[in-house]
Symmetry: D2
Subunit: 364 residues, 4 copies
């Protein structure tokens, strides 16, 4: 259980790091959307290994194949199946790990849960699992563009203690994609790059923070009580590998303000009701208010490092471990498309749910 | 949609601040659990208005009534329905708010979503909605005690800039309940109390941070991919009113460490495989590893304040607003039972899901 | 599990025969629908015990109380909670049954599943459980009237071997409600009445067939593959107590025809594409084609009879049983509103699901 | 929506008749089950086109490929993805149908729902869609064998007006598979074969009835209220293509009996509590009682016939149609594995759900 996400735009992902393939089934995509492999590939290329020197050098083209649900270039409204064949699996690279537990990986917990585990490259716990999400996110983004114009941006805001300064009102996708770190503060991106290079040479790893920002948000997305937009986004993002926390608007810093300092006053602006500040990050009472969504997600440093580490075997015997698999010294550049695509998936799901919300709309 | 939570231990809540009653239906509670109203009341009293001078003075006894699913003192395995009648609803206190939007409340977003709104006390967006969750959480806690011994604790760690120091290994429920703030650092609790009193007199409000800690955690809870324990807990907690962020283990601070500093080494301890540190907060790869769960949740300052605030009417006309409803100057003391009970709900659901995970277990 | 039904218009029922109350929570009803207790009561009165001499004489008014989700006479879009207090519970009438299993009741199976059972009046397996469904169905019918004009009719077509002749094109709700059997063939209704009276005096019971017919059906309801309209209706109807089978269109008789005899040709009629026959009963490939829905549901004879029957105690000791509880000699008259309201629930759910199906609609 | 089925053993199918491939993702299969392609192939071969002269002559090997979820011959507990490439798609054979609606097919209803349709071989409405279900059913059957020994049998009981006589207590899978009709009454199978041959030559088609029978049923499967075993089986079976009705135990014939004739008395037999008759077909109050499951499913005559038929174009113009695609003159022989595998899927799902039902079990 747990491989399915969403209520009306529902995705089911499958696949392991070193199994034959990985993929996704999208159930609930409306009919009539123009869709082809190129549209998917654009997002998959942002997530792909080997895209730059600072990510894992596993050689994967991650070429998406649509095998159902599209007819003559348009979605049919039935299940869309997308698959990507693994090309550069090297199971033998993991053979020395099969009887021991890599620190801060899922080896131990999978074995506790399932009684044994697929020890090749983390099996299902590999970040390769996110290919399906990103491919589905590409479809979600296309749908958002057609239906409501919402634009989902995410970028690297911080790596280690290096924090970027970005004008959130003007930053563009091109700014983000302008460098291999995906940090639109070009000067800071250089420093981050240097830091990653340095740490990579040491065999160590780094974490960081991704900030997301959604423009042209429709108001009214999110449900009362459990399926609040904050709650659904939090689940979506915390389901990504290596995430440690998520916050909305001012987040944890909101606790330092008083109510009189934190509240967002309403005003009329250009004929619309707007807030004069956006400390809430676009969500009030769990429902979007039409202001830009603002959120931040923390990623821990990659667990795989080229250091000798203490661990134990499956029988509990103390051993020393030195990992040999290819890995990202810092997951952040590749986490960006995971974040923006997961957000797109949540927004589309709630946009579709909203179609059935008022009698007035149903009658029209 | 969105009033139901959980996959095998599934709760559906209902009710408004000023409607007749609030309640919950629990579907999926195993049969044979001893359950009576006293067990529910203990948790509801921790959430209740009027429990101390620093919370809202609305007069509610929040007396729970079990109207189905229990027979001769034990759960039957069928739907458990629990209800609490509202006693001190004062809709007239909200009449002056019916045509305008309170800043940072759900008034505007509900109206955007549903076309109109129940303006009495926030309707469904009132924190009174959490009564159902807490009552259900009481059942979940009882089940955890019987089945796996897990103990869920939560306390106030920070209010405004006042941060408590608490020994997480030794803190007890009695320590937490020892003062009206629910902060087990007695000296700091005094300061927090003084700060809340001060801010209350000014008509302003405060936010803060709740820390949660689960002992005797079973390993193996949480599912790969989307229903990771982190993801499900994040959803559960971010669905609580006024939450702004959630983090696990070291959370956002994890980004300041290198992998070699952050990884939790495995060791054999007393015949069991354990981690020598717990920077991951008890969850690796989205699945519990048997170490204590550690998480933190940020709550914004209460939106209702006795200040004159700028806002607009439903027609967009600028007006001044001064709230008159009774409210909490600081939601934290009452947020504690919301947090620990939501965590219990997630843990029970995943404990039950885990029963069907391995062929070995099914054969026994 | 299993007390919740529906995907977008989702109901959760609760309550036992002799517990305090029974009820339902409706999650997903669009906002803005006019709703009051009188609208519910009309359907509940059709299901009510004591409505005529041929049904159980238990004295229940089944008065519905709406305790959330309606504000100033309209649905708010949030959870609607409806409850009905039990008034004439007589648990003592079941005391002699507590240690034995009534033949063809759920006593034995509940005990096998849950380890023990609520022996008062069948507990959750009582037909009293359907009150929540019927109340929710009243809301669903109101929504259908507002949104698409679909009219759901059901009537008693057969009792024992007595089969009515009814003109399906012209029969009206008034014809159905004209007699206490709910059979619009007045002459046959008399015979059925006599048969029920006769069998009731003997202490025996009868079964029969309900036919359902939906006019003004929107085309396009139902989903490919698993959530076909046939499949969802079959589940909904087979979840009613005492049902033994369901069939659509010509049903089991379709097997006696060849394809050339069974196919429904398409034609243009009054500017619309229609079928010239309706052997498919309004559903092709699992999706409605706009023709009238036609289906039939079989109900077994009531299990409770005033005959001495062989059974065993919980310990397996052979005993003789003679039931004493009040009961329906024939469930059919009261099954009619259960059937038409369950159908309404399925249709509304699929009507709402259909709002998110095509890009064209989403763009408008 | 609607491509996913099951609550704990959850399958999602995808694929079209003439798209690249068809497949299924199984989410929730316990870890540790021995699984390979041969096990799947055995069931797929029973469903395969071209298996005999009386089924469609489309040339498909339907070779299953497991691309995730199995490691070293055992299921890992994570998502199992299975795919089958289409080999003998001939889209051009459908080109003459693209602008008109085949009678009693899903052409018209898909177009009503989705605005346009994949006209190649019925797209998603093709019976080829059931490959995924049958492959998943093979896994479910393996699990049933390991966990509870339940044996699911199904056979052709009736074709047109030819009805077999079968001893349900002794019939074996070998008896069923002994002839190409899958009717274990060998003499009647010959007559059925002759009838199918005759009708095939005429270009017409036939329907029939499949009977299913489950031995070694565990008691206690099925949930109160909506997820009754009858309800879930009815949904599963009515979601198969061409089904018209389903009945349990005596089914529609039960209405001809009185309660005193229909009730199943309890008795002690070989130390167990059993019913002396099984008119209920193994399910009482929606929950299995440990007796054999008995049910029947009606299939209509195949809609595709080589007759000239009246229909209309998408613009509503009257035209004559003569189908050219390869098709089954009688779907029954291939419906048998669809039925038994769907039943296995429902049983496994409920077997897994039952693991979390009683406190006693959870404590052990």
């Amino acid at each position: 259980m747990g491989d399915t996400f969403g209520h009306l735009f529902r995705i089911t992902t499958w696949g392991e790091s070193h199994g034959g393939a990985v993929g996704v089934v999208i159930d609930g995509c409306p009919s009539g959307l123009a869709l082809d492999e190129a549209l998917l590939q654009r997002e998959l290329d942002r997530r792909r290994p080997g895209q730059s020197r600072i990510v894992t050098q596993r050689k994967e083209h991650d070429t998406a194949q649509i095998v159902s649900g599209v007819f003559e270039g348009r979605t049919t409204g039935t299940a869309i199946s997308i698959l990507v064949w693994n090309q550069d699996a090297r199971p033998q690279a993991y053979e020395h790990l099969k009887d021991l537990f890599r620190p801060s990986h899922a080896d131990f917990t999978y074995e506790q849960k399932f009684g044994f585990r697929d020890w090749m490259g983390g099996g299902r716990s590999s970040a390769r699992e996110t290919i399906g999400r990103v491919a589905a996110g590409a479809v979600a983004k296309a749908l958002l563009r057609e239906c409501c114009g919402a634009e989902v941006l995410a970028w690297v805001e911080q790596i280690h203690d290096l924090r970027a300064k970005v004008n959130r009102d003007t930053v563009s996708e091109a700014d983000i994609e302008a460098n291999m770190v995906r940090c639109p503060d070009a000067a800071m991106a250089e420093k981050m790059l240097a830091r990653i290079d340095e740490i990579r040479k040491q065999g160590d790893s780094l974490g960081g923070i991704v900030r997301a920002h959604v423009r042209n948000m429709p108001a009214g997305l999110g449900e009362p009580v459990f399926d609040k937009l904050t709650a659904e986004l939090a689940k979506a993002l915390m389901s990504l590998p290596a995430t440690r926390g998520v916050e909305f608007g001012l987040g944890f810093d909101a606790v330092l303000l008083r109510g009189s300092e934190h509240n967002d006053a309403f005003e009329s602006r250009n004929g619309a009701i707007r807030t004069s500040t956006n400390r809430s990050g676009g969500i009030q009472g769990g429902i979007s208010n039409g202001e830009d969504l603002e959120l931040r997600i923390a990623f821990k440093p990659t667990a795989t490092i080229n250091f000798e580490q203490d661990t134990v075997t499956r029988e509990g015997k103390a051993v020393k471990l030195r990992a040999k698999g290819r890995h990202d010294p810092c997951v952040l550049p590749r986490a960006v498309p995971m974040v923006d695509n997961m957000i797109a998936l949540v927004l589309v799901d709630h946009f579709l749910r909203n179609q059935a919300k008022t009698l007035d709309r149903l009658k029209s």
